[in-house]
C-alpha cells in the first residue's frame, strides 16, 4: 500500500471509530494537504491554516514556557478543530462538533497521530 493509501485507510477507520468526527486532514507542516476527507474546496485552506495554527501554537508554547505542545485547539460555537504535530514534517487536523464526545475524539486522535508518524516517517 502507498503512503497515500495507508493514510486514507487510517482516515476512514477514524471516521468509523468516532462517528462524531466531521473531517480529518493530514497535511505537511508547510500546509500542503496530503490526505483528507474534507470537501476539496475546503481542504486546501484547512491544510494551510491548520499548519499555520500548529506553527503558531508551538511558538506560543515556547514563549509562554508551556513545554512541548500536545494539541492545538480552535473552538467555535458550531465545532472545534484539533490539530496535532505528527513529527517534524506533518500535521493531523480533526474537526468535531462542539458538543461531541471530546474525550473519545482525543483518545482516537492520539492513536491516529502515532500511526501517521509511522506512515510519514
Amino acid at each position: 500500500m502507498t503512503k497515500q493509501e495507508q493514510l486514507e485507510k487510517l482516515i476512514k477507520e477514524l471516521r468509523t471509530n468516532v462517528p462524531d468526527i466531521t473531517g480529518v486532514m493530514v497535511a505537511s507542516s508547510d500546509g500542503l494537504s496530503i490526505a483528507s476527507d474534507f470537501p476539496e474546496e475546503e481542504g486546501a485552506r484547512i491544510a494551510a491554516v491548520g499548519a499555520a495554527a500548529s506553527g503558531l501554537g508551538n511558538r506560543i508554547a515556547q514563549n509562554a514556557a508551556l513545554g512541548a505542545v500536545s494539541e492545538t485547539m480552535v473552538k467555535g460555537t458550531d465545532g472545534l478543530l484539533l490539530i496535532y504535530m505528527t513529527g517534524d514534517e506533518g500535521v493531523l487536523a480533526i474537526r468535531a462538533p462542539a458538543r461531541g464526545n471530546l474525550g473519545l475524539v482525543r483518545l482516537e486522535a492520539s492513536a491516529a497521530c502515532e500511526e501517521v508518524k509511522k506512515i510519514l516517517g
Binding site: 507542516s29 500546509g31 500542503l32 486546501a44 494551510a48 506553527g55
Partner: protein
C-alpha cells in the same frame, strides 16, 4: 557568498546582471563619478526630506549621519571590488531598512532618482557612446543592488515571521496561494 545573496542574484537574467565589464567601466570613470558625489548626496536627501513619508523615517538631526552613510556607500561602490562582501552588504542593507521602516517603494523610487541623476551627468560630460555604456553599467548595478535590498527585505520579513509566529516561508506561500485567485478576481473586477 552567503546563501540568501546567491539565491537573489541567481534570479536576475545574466545579460542584465552587473558584469566584469560594468565593474571595469565604473572603476575606469571613478574620478568623474566621484566629482558628482556632492550633488548625488544632496539631491537624494533633498528628495527624501521634501516628502512627508520619507522624511518621517528620520530622527531629528539625523541627516548629516545618513548623508555620510550614502557617501560611504557610493565611495565603497566606486572603489570596488565587487566581491562577495560587497553584495552581502547590500543584502544586509535590506535588514537595516526593515528595522528603520524604509520600505521597498522608497528604495525603488530613490534608485530611479540615482540612475536618472547619474545618467544625466554622464550625457553632459561624456561623448554619447561612452555615456550610454556608463548608463548601462549604472542600470546593471541598480538591478543587482535593488534586487538584493528589496528581496532581502522581503525574505528577512519571512524569516522574522517564522521566528516569531512559526510560519515558514513555504507555509506563508501556501496561505497566499489559497487567497490569491480570489484577490486577482476582485482586483480585475474593480
Amino acid at each position: 557568498m552567503n546563501e540568501i545573496t546567491r539565491q537573489i542574484l541567481d534570479q536576475i537574467p545574466s545579460n542584465v546582471k552587473f558584469s566584469e565589464e560594468d565593474a571595469e567601466l565604473l572603476i575606469k570613470h571613478k574620478d568623474k563619478l566621484l566629482e558628482w558625489e556632492d550633488g548625488l548626496i544632496e539631491g537624494f536627501y533633498d528628495s527624501l526630506f521634501n516628502h512627508d513619508t520619507t522624511r518621517a523615517v528620520f530622527e531629528e538631526g539625523e541627516r548629516p549621519a545618513r548623508e555620510q552613510t550614502l557617501r560611504d556607500w557610493y565611495r565603497r561602490t566606486l572603489n570596488g571590488p565587487f566581491d562577495d562582501n560587497y553584495w552581502e552588504w547590500q543584502t544586509y542593507v535590506g535588514l537595516v531598512h526593515i528595522k528603520r521602516k524604509v520600505n521597498n517603494a522608497m528604495v525603488a523610487g530613490m534608485w530611479g532618482w540615482i540612475a536618472t541623476y547619474l545618467g544625466r551627468k554622464a550625457l553632459e560630460e561624456f561623448p554619447q557612446e561612452e555615456a550610454l555604456k556608463l548608463i548601462s553599467a549604472v542600470h546593471s548595478l541598480q538591478a543587482n543592488v535593488t534586487a538584493l535590498i528589496v528581496e532581502s527585505y522581503l525574505k528577512n520579513m519571512f524569516v522574522a515571521i517564522d521566528k516569531a509566529a512559526g510560519l515558514s516561508e513555504a507555509l506563508l506561500g501556501r496561505l497566499v496561494a489559497t487567497e490569491i485567485d480570489d484577490m486577482l478576481a476582485k482586483a480585475k473586477s474593480s
